[in-house]
Amino acid sequence: MREDYLDLDDQRSSGGEVDPDLINRLFRSAHSLKALAGMFGLESIQGLAHHLEDILDSLRLGRVPMDSPLVGLIDESIHTFANLLECVGDPEALAAFNEPVEDLSNRIEASAKETSAGGELESLEIDSALLRALTEYEEHRLRESIQRGRHIMLVGSTFEIMSFDEGLSELSDSIRAIGEVLSTLPAPGETPESQIRFSLLVATDLNIAELTETLDFPDADVQLVREGAPVVELPTKPAESETAPQAAVAPELESLRSISETVRVDIHKLDELMNLVGELVIHRASIGDIAARLTALPQNAQIGLELSKIHKSLDRKLRGIQSAVLEVRMVPMRQVFDKVSRVVRSLRRDLQKDVRLEVFGADTELDKLIVEELVDPLMHIVRNAIDHGMEPVQERVAAGKDAQGCIKINAFQRGNHVVISVGDDGQGIDRAALIARAESLGLISADAELSDREVLNLIFTPGLSTQSVVSETSGRGVGMDVVRENVMALGGAVEVESIPGRGTRISMTLPITLAIVQSLIVGVGEHRFAIPINAVHETLLIDTSEIQHSEGREILDLRGEALLLRSLAKEFELDISRSSEKQFAVIVGLGEQRIGLLVDRLEGQQDTVIKPIQGSLKNVRGFAGATELGDQRAVLVVDVSSLVEDALSRRESA
């Protein structure tokens, strides 16, 4: 908002035209500030925002001229907001602002009154906002209708987005039977996500009661805009003044047009598009395959080469479409973070904890579907951090910490993944309490020797985390198993770090998109599997003699670190007649955990569209779905996160 204001001031002082979009943006900022303030009961902010919204609205609609005193008022308001927002949570400091805020509100109101002189168009006694949305033709029809003494009504109705065109044309048709639809305008206002509201400007000889009755649309509401009179003296406009208001309207119309350059698209339509692209990807692979086979035959080599050329250019175009469609699906994390900060504010009130939220990387983009699935886990983690992670103020002060707790949310891209971490500076996880609880529930044996990571990972154990008692004593753990489940379902991983007395950090690693992913195709015996490339860290050619053994487990010395190996053949109990001396180790993992998967062959990388397997097979652990590589044969996609988890938990129990 501040930046927009600075731009506004710049544009104005440089004497140029003020961009109507800018005022619109300021107006919207004021509006959402008002709504937010209302939600949290911050009356002084709400009041001021309301007044600011009014004046900006008038400015936006050209009802008041932009002059220095007005700009000064806007500047002052923005300053005051900044001051007010800093004092949120401190009622006394807020109260101190009451008087200046009121004074400012009054001055804004006065300035709005002073300047709101009616223009020529107002002589029609019709809301100028409405008039400005009309095209020249529609305006002409409006004059005509008034001259004929018709009543001018506004019929508003709300439709489901999915079927609004049908509903709207039905409504329009029934109005046409009794009058004229002058204009159909999308109406602003509070409507649920899935609905859209339209206002129809109608000229009719019927009065409001008659119209309502005749229409018989339960959802439609009718509002009288201007009563018709038998004879109306219309100000007949001289030709030169005809153009004047038109010019004033032009920028507004332009801004309306630029708003409509964005389209709301049902995410499922994007899915459909993505599916089609996915199928094209499969066909492309088939064409490539055929081209290669043709080229290999001497008599067809020429045709083969020509086909490969076409295949290459098809490949480039397809990649273009792919990335365009993917881009459309990407949304910034900001949407989710805004929700989180609202929750933090209300939790702060409900739990009486003094916590501030710091957010980094709100512009990091993720697939819309992933973002949606992420809201719940993220909320959960943040709630836990405030509820259980933060110690009471006295304890914080005694420990030499800032009385106000701090939750840091950080989102950043790492390769094909986005990492979202939630850190707090609270008391950290009480390991002893966690172990005690897990023992009492029989989740671990009393003499189990667990590494620190294994202890911390206990918070993800289902039986344990549903116990709210534990969360109060150990600090955390309500529903963390659900969080992990949700994140794993997205092909991601969750990790926890915690330093006693210093705080806890929970990190989620997620793929950027689920739609089309590059996969590494591996071969084991006659079987082929796809491993999503975003889970692959590196591949090594190893000699079986390099494999070391410990308690029946296979281990590889990877630059000094012991890496647990799992053979895919053994893991999936495949019939392999003989395994070769040379094997490939595919180092996979999400987040920090790694294992090596042993395979016979690497067959290259391919774009894959991972589809769920329909039927009961989707419950088989170890597979994320299946894909097709162009030969009409299904290839199973390995679910790396479950394999890694199984391998590492087996190590724990060993």
């Binding site: 599916n275 996915g278 199928e279 499969i282 079987h527 893991e571 999936f572 109990e573 495949l574 569209v609 589809k611 769920p612 397997i613 329909q614 039927g615 009961s616 097979l617 088989v620 652990r621 170890g622 597979f623 779905g625 299946a626 894909t627 097709e628 030969d631 009409q632 044969r633 299904a634 290839v635 199973l636």
Partner: protein
């Protein structure tokens, strides 16, 4: 590649069966409710499923076995990009595996939850029109997979209880 047919072939096959069924639906229609059932063979015996649960019938195609799944699941097939579980109906009914032949077919069945599952059978016969009175309860079914029998052209056809069959495992 030879075992893979084009979708138009499949469509024709399905159309032929449907048309034959429609032709037989003549004037003899009584007031009883008429059921349309698709009949097929397993181990020489006739079985049937309601036509409205059948999405399509396709020929045998490459199957990818799925580790860690039960034995009567052949694996996954790719049907125009859709990944579909293929159940060996012979095995599932305890009649031994379906042997591939020229007549082997996959009946693609709609499950309740907007998905499909393939059932592998020895051969597909025809669409039968059966009135209520031709149906009688089956007794002594081992798996509960056959709910009723219906009499059709002097032969008892076993009616498959799809929802039961699709959830049976192992």
């Amino acid at each position: 590649m030879s075992e893979v047919t084009t979708s138009s072939d499949e469509a024709r096959e399905w159309d032929d069966i449907a048309r034959a069924a429609a032709d037989r639906g003549d004037s003899s229609e009584s007031l009883d409710e008429i059921h349309q059932l698709l009949s097929f063979e397993i181990a020489g015996a006739p079985y049937a499923v309601p036509v409205e649960r059948v999405r399509e019938i396709v020929r045998m195609r490459p199957v990818t076995p799925v580790p860690r799944s039960s034995e009567d699941v052949r694996g996954v097939i790719s049907l125009r990009g859709e990944m579909i579980e293929l159940v060996d109906l012979g095995r599932r009914l305890g009649l031994g595996p379906i042997e591939s032949s020229r007549r082997t077919r996959i009946i693609v069945i709609k499950t309740g939850d907007d998905e499909v599952v393939g059932l592998l059978v020895d051969a597909v016969r025809e669409v039968m029109r059966i009135s209520d009175e031709a149906i009688q309860p089956a007794t002594g079914s081992d798996t509960g997979a056959v709910s009723d029998l219906c009499k059709f052209e002097d032969e008892f056809v076993s009616m498959i209880e799809l929802d039961r069959v699709l959830t049976l495992d192992g």
